[in-house]
Subunit: 241 residues, 2 copies
DNA sequence: TATTATTGTCTCATTGTGAGACAATAATAA
DNA sequence: TTATTATTGTCTCACAATGAGACAATAATA
């Protein structure tokens, strides 16, 4: 529901954007063996929400989402997948948006376009945690990482959206190259396994995992990585091509 | 893009529906060992399209789709899955809608709400072919079954929508109980295998298929079915519970 | 009564995965 | 220098899932 600062004419009439359509993104990052997502905190409200936005009249839906993610993370060419469309009437809670806008010093009439009902197209994104510079928008005073397993209360149905995103990510984990997008260019087998375990929420068997991944013939092996720990140094790998 | 007949005030202003949001459904049926889908043919245009519609202001998105399907098929409680949202600007072709409306005797101004850009939320539905009474809407003079492998030309990106629906159905075939929704209450193992083969577009090994399906422990076996053919009669099965 | 097509159920080989054994080694402790 | 510790890379063995085919059991027909 986060949106770009616009002039007041657009704000009131909403002419710059398609009506009734919003998008929300679950941006997954990986750090310290944990999955994290980006959340916005709206100024003076204690409300947390997923980063999102609206679609310009002359803009592709997917491009709108990329534009939103670029603003929040600074990144181009983000890995993105559609999850689901949330379109129940119960998600229409104009008082929440009103609170957010008023807490930011806007005076809002009941016909303000942001108070209308929105259907939300949701996405998940996979990004390399280290490359991101989380950036709040005009209505929020923070945009930061939260551990997936200790999220704050979220507005509207954003918890459902997070769950659906995680579910979709899990279902895709073996088709799409998940690790490639969440890890730096080079990584150890243990780090890749940590990503899979964080996503699936369960421990995997080290030997079977290694055998399976190497069997896919997708990894290139590099020199060893000396961590300074008292044990055999693991190889570094990268995804081929 | 098919829509319900409405009074002219609503037609012009589109106040009864959410703006810029449409849905389209790929309705799969199974007959003669072939997958079929329902298509509408618009009056006097030669245009073919998927059945679809728009979301009322006080209506859940999913309920809108069910309402549309009820109108086209006469069926309630249809098995339904979301596929994908098509939201590119290139799918906005107002001249096509204009042609359709004018061919139906409507006079259309350039600001007619149906000529606006629409994002389409797409679904696939699985129904029991025999139970359906395909029913055209106000703008179309037919709503009929077409073999999936010999579809006519479709308007806009509806071919992409069909492909995406088939792709999603294939991906779901082992999770969701596909056969239950496409077959009558009782069926032979061969018929169930035909459904899977039609969906996957490939031949399956009879013995492995039978072993796998029976291993799921989802089927109840009934009496034999004497087809009149010169060979051993197969058992009939139904899905448990 | 023999023939034909199809079904239900085997067996055997191959592949994929779970579970664990074990040697190799990078740093630390003695 | 040598033993200790934790972790890695690679085995082996057991078991489950699947591919491929064999074969007897039958409904109707010739």
């Amino acid at each position: 529901m986060a949106h770009k600062k616009k002039n007041e004419a657009n704000d009131i009439q909403g002419t710059g954007y398609l009506s009734n359509i919003a998008f929300d993104s679950v941006v997954f990052g990986f750090s310290g063996a944990k999955l994290k997502i980006l959340l916005m905190e709206y100024h003076n409200t204690g409300f947390f929400a997923l980063p999102g936005g609206f679609v310009k009249r002359e803009e592709n839906l997917n491009d709108a989402v990329r534009r939103g993610l670029k603003e929040r993370t600074g990144l181009d060419h983000i890995y993105l997948e559609q999850c689901y469309v949330f379109g129940d009437t119960t998600r229409h809670k104009p008082e929440i948006l009103k609170t957010i806008l008023e807490a930011n010093g806007h005076t809002v009439t009941d016909s303000h376009w942001l108070l209308d009902r929105f259907i939300s197209v949701t996405y998940y994104a996979l990004i390399n945690y280290a490359n991101v510079v989380p950036t709040p928008d005009a209505l929020s005073d923070s945009c930061t990482w939260y551990d997936l397993d200790s999220l704050p209360e979220l507005i509207l149905d954003h918890h459902d959206i997070v769950n659906k995103a995680l579910q979709t990510l899990r279902a895709n984990i073996d088709q799409k190259l998940v690790g490639m997008n969440l890890l730096p260019a080079q990584f150890t087998m243990r780090e890749l396994q940590n990503v899979y375990e964080a996503i699936l929420g369960e421990q995997l068997r080290r030997t079977s995992f290694q055998r399976k991944i190497l069997g896919l013939d997708l990894l290139k092996r590099h020199e060893k990585h000396y961590s300074g720990k008292a044990h055999k140094a693991p190889y570094l790998y990268s995804f081929k091509k």
